[in-house]
Structure formats: structure tokens, C-alpha cells
């Protein structure tokens, strides 16, 4: 591990917000599993956590952290270090620490109570969602110098992906209900990492319903190993593209 990543990870792990985040995830997960009599219901509650809380915390915390790291970045920039390396290190540092707290908070309870394919998929998807929203945070914080604006953009992006997007899709579904739009709908999910994550979990959690005619189209795509592979590739693109855009911008940025 490179030294800069090490410093960043150590710095973040000392951060109170991350500690609180880990603690809250942990308390939530353990209590959800121990209160519900079947683990499926617990997983359902955690699904909402993964689809709402995890992206929100990831994106907002990362954005704030990046803005607060401007001194650190400046300090490093006068040293013989490649610019992109600083940005990459910041990204890896943030991602690793948030993944760690997600794993400690949610991963361990899942592995303890529900080490099924649903549980594993949830864990995997949680990792991806965390990383995607860290990448989105990098993009939103490079777009503007103003910290308040940057956090605003981050929250708006979260709001869009977590809520508005689904609203728009629901609206479209009813407007276009006379047309054969199933295939298009599968395509549309690619534009929202949260939806993509949700459907991947849904296919395991509600497998019985997804086998039926309504879910068949999704099952045919996301249920095959190629479909899952493509879905993860798209999630991966959701990490790479925003981050690379931010990297290009960072390389040209005046500090």
C-alpha cells in the first residue's frame, strides 16, 4: 500500500463521523437481525440501508473530506509526487476506509446471520455502491471550488439516484404502458447505480416472483451469469467514469 493511502486511511479511521457511521450501521444491523424472527426480513431492512443510507453517507462524507483535504493536497503538491497519484491515493484511501466501516458495520452481521447467496450479493453490492458514491463525490467536489456548492451537488445527485430517478421511471412506465418497453426498462436501469444494485439483490431476495412473467424479462437478463457480469461491469463503469473525469479535471486544476 502506498504511503499516502496509509496516511489517509489512518486519518479517516480516526474521524468521528466514520466511527459513528460504523457504529450506527453495526447497531442497526445487529438489532435488525436479532429482532426479526427470520433473516429475510432483516435483509429487507438492510436493503433500504444499503440503497439509501450507504450512498448518502458515502457521497456526503467523501465530498466534505475532499474539500477538507485541500490543505493536504496542497502540501503534497509541492513535494515530488505526481498529481494523479495524489488524487488516486485520496480515492483509494476514502474508498478503503468506507468499505472497511461498511464491512464492520453491516458485513459481519450479514455473514453471521445470513451467509446465503442473498447475503453475499448484498455485501458485494454494498461494496460497489459505496465505491460508486465515493467516485461521484470526487466528481461533485471537483466541479466547484465552493464547498457548500459541492456538498449541494453531492446531495442533489444522491437525491436524484435514490428517489427522483425512480419517480421518473414510474411516470414513464405509465405513460408508455401500451408499448413493449420491458427491454428498454432493463437498459434504463444502467443509468442508475442504485437501481442496478437493487435489482441484483431483488433477483435473489424475491427470486420466486422474479421467476414469474412480470420479472421474467429481468430474470432473463440479470439472472444469467452473463447478465450479472454485465451488471457488475456497468457498476464498475459507474466507479471508473466519474472518477476519471474528476482526475482529468484535477490534473488541470489550479491550486
Amino acid at each position: 500500500m502506498n504511503r499516502i493511502i496509509k496516511f489517509i486511511v489512518l486519518d479517516i479511521l480516526k474521524n468521528k463521523i466514520v466511527l459513528v457511521y460504523t457504529a450506527i450501521l453495526s447497531i442497526l444491523s445487529w438489532s435488525v437481525f436479532s429482532l426479526e424472527d427470520n433473516s429475510t426480513k432483516g435483509l429487507l431492512t438492510l436493503l433500504n440501508v444499503i440503497l439509501l443510507t450507504v450512498p448518502l453517507i458515502s457521497v456526503v462524507f467523501s465530498t466534505i473530506y475532499i474539500y477538507n483535504s485541500s490543505e493536504f493536497i496542497e502540501l503534497l503538491l509541492s513535494q515530488p509526487i505526481k498529481r494523479s497519484k495524489i488524487w488516486w491515493s485520496l480515492f483509494f484511501g476514502l474508498t478503503l476506509s468506507l468499505l472497511l466501516s461498511f464491512f464492520i458495520g453491516t458485513g459481519i452481521p450479514i455473514l453471521f446471520y445470513a451467509p446465503s447467496d442473498v447475503g453475499i450479493m448484498m455485501l458485494l453490492v454494498g461494496f460497489f455502491i459505496t465505491t460508486v458514491f465515493v467516485a461521484i463525490a470526487f466528481l461533485s467536489s471537483i466541479l466547484t471550488r465552493d464547498k457548500a456548492k459541492g456538498i449541494g451537488i453531492a446531495i442533489m445527485l444522491w437525491l436524484f439516484f435514490a428517489l427522483l430517478f425512480d419517480g421518473i421511471v414510474l411516470f414513464l412506465l405509465f405513460q408508455l404502458s401500451d408499448y413493449p418497453i420491458e427491454k428498454m426498462m432493463v437498459g434504463i436501469t444502467a443509468f442508475n447505480p442504485i437501481d442496478l444494485a437493487r435489482i441484483l439483490i431483488l433477483l435473489h431476495l424475491d427470486v420466486s416472483a422474479m421467476m414469474g412473467y412480470t420479472g421474467a424479462i429481468f430474470k432473463d437478463f440479470f439472472g444469467t451469469s452473463i447478465g450479472i457480469f454485465i451488471a457488475f461491469i456497468i457498476l464498475f463503469l459507474w466507479i471508473i467514469v466519474p472518477f476519471l473525469v474528476s482526475l482529468i479535471k484535477f490534473n488541470r486544476k489550479d491550486l
Binding site: 496542497e74 509541492s78 488541470r252 489550479d254 491550486l255
Partner: protein, 237 residues
């Protein structure tokens, strides 16, 4: 050692540096002076690669600095206002920079001892006063025995004692034949240090002269007066 060619930098419509060409060599101690907002700091930052020039090139030791980073190994930089991660202690910052640079060279810890920073090693950066922060910046700039020292307002915020220590250190380094670039708006304190003056205004270099030249052409003994004379002459044109 540093060759600047037709350098320009715009922030939006604002031209901060306008077609600047300079050449600085080993053994020189150059004062970069000018009124606030004349582009001194930006010029320094472009040399360090922190600001990307709109036009023009910078060569360091004969190599272009754009897309290069290794050259910064030879530069010690002391920023005008040192900004450091709040949560880290002085000790951690020094350790980190040392680790990052992986420098096997002998470290120059003179300033560390003279500023008595070791006693403050466990203090977090956010608790430090401006002056102490400047001491940390200065220590970092000199720590790796760089060939070039770029000091942005080095004595601002330092108490007279620390200021004197720093000045002596600068003179010592100058005598080792290093290139030293200092910006300052207080001219008097530079009198006994510098060999050359670059005067900037509105993003342009007004003149670049050795002290001897400057004194001879104006007939003034004090640098500040010599500059004032030149400026007056220019205004009258």
C-alpha cells in the same frame, strides 16, 4: 536553472501573469517584489506545478516542468500561508513528508532545532498559531537540502527572533551556492540578503536587475529608494 519563457496565466478573463520571461541561475538570491495581487504567488505556483500555465513554458535544470514531478525533489517551498491537515501533529507531518520523499540524503534539521519544534511534536496543526505554522513550513522547506529554495513571504508572521534565525539560515544556504527565490513586500528586511530584484506589476515583469545595477543606475544606496525612483521615472513617462 529556472527558465521561464513567455509565460501567461488567466483566471477566467483576469490576466494574472502576462507574457513573463525570466531566467534564474544557481547562486543567485532573487527578491520577487511587487504590490499585492501582482502575480508573485501565482508565478511561484506555476513553477511548482500547482498552477497550470495558460501559455508559455518553464524549464527546470533544462527540462520542461509540465507533466513532470520529479524536479520538485530539488525545490524547497515555503508557502505564504501554510495550510496543513488539521488533525495531524507536527511530528506526523514531518514523518509523512519524510516517508513520502523517501529521502536518503542527510536531512537538514537546523531549523527544527533552532525553532525548538521538537517540544511541540505532539501538537495538532489546528492548535498552532500562525507563527508556529510558518516555522513548520520553513523547516519543511529546508529539510531536504534542496538546490532551490522558494520562499513566499518567509518572515511574515514570524517573531523577530525566529525571523532572524530564518534569515541567517537563508544566508547560509546562499553561501552554499543555492538558488533562492524570495517574495516579499517588505523591502527593508531583504537588504542584506539579495543579489537580484525582479519587480512585478499587473502580471508583468517591470524589471529584473542585479542590486549593483540598480544602485548604479539610480544612484541610491537603499534598495527601497532605488525602486521608488524607478517607479517614479516610469510613471512620469
Amino acid at each position: 536553472m529556472i527558465e521561464i519563457n513567455n509565460l501567461s496565466k488567466n483566471f477566467g478573463k483576469l490576466k494574472v501573469i502576462n507574457n513573463v520571461s525570466l531566467s534564474c541561475n544557481q547562486g543567485e538570491c532573487i527578491a520577487l517584489i511587487g504590490p499585492n495581487g501582482c502575480g508573485k504567488t501565482t508565478l511561484i505556483k506555476t513553477i511548482l506545478g500547482m498552477v497550470i500555465p495558460s501559455k508559455g513554458t518553464i524549464k527546470f535544470k533544462g527540462e520542461y516542468v509540465s507533466k513532470n514531478f520529479e524536479y520538485r525533489k530539488y525545490i524547497g517551498y515555503m508557502p505564504q500561508i501554510g495550510r496543513y491537515p488539521d488533525n495531524m501533529t507536527i511530528g506526523q507531518i514531518l514523518e509523512m513528508i519524510k516517508e513520502i520523499r523517501k529521502s536518503d540524503l542527510d536531512l537538514d534539521e537546523d531549523l527544527l532545532h533552532q525553532f525548538k519544534l521538537k517540544d511541540l511534536f505532539n501538537k495538532r496543526m489546528r492548535t498552532l498559531s500562525g507563527g508556529t505554522t510558518q516555522k513548520v513550513s520553513a523547516t519543511l522547506a529546508f529539510l531536504f537540502n534542496p538546490d532551490v529554495l522558494i520562499l513566499d513571504e518567509p518572515t511574515a508572521g514570524l517573531d523577530p527572533l525566529a525571523s532572524e534565525i530564518l534569515k541567517e539560515k537563508i544566508i547560509a544556504e546562499k553561501q552554499k551556492g543555492k538558488l533562492i527565490l524570495i517574495t516579499s513586500h517588505l523591502l527593508s528586511e531583504l537588504d542584506d540578503l539579495i543579489t537580484q530584484i525582479i519587480f512585478m506589476q499587473d502580471g508583468e515583469v517591470q524589471f529584473h536587475k542585479t542590486i549593483a545595477d540598480l544602485k548604479a543606475s539610480t544612484g541610491e544606496e537603499k534598495i527601497s529608494k532605488a525602486i521608488a525612483t524607478i517607479l517614479k521615472a516610469k510613471n512620469n513617462e
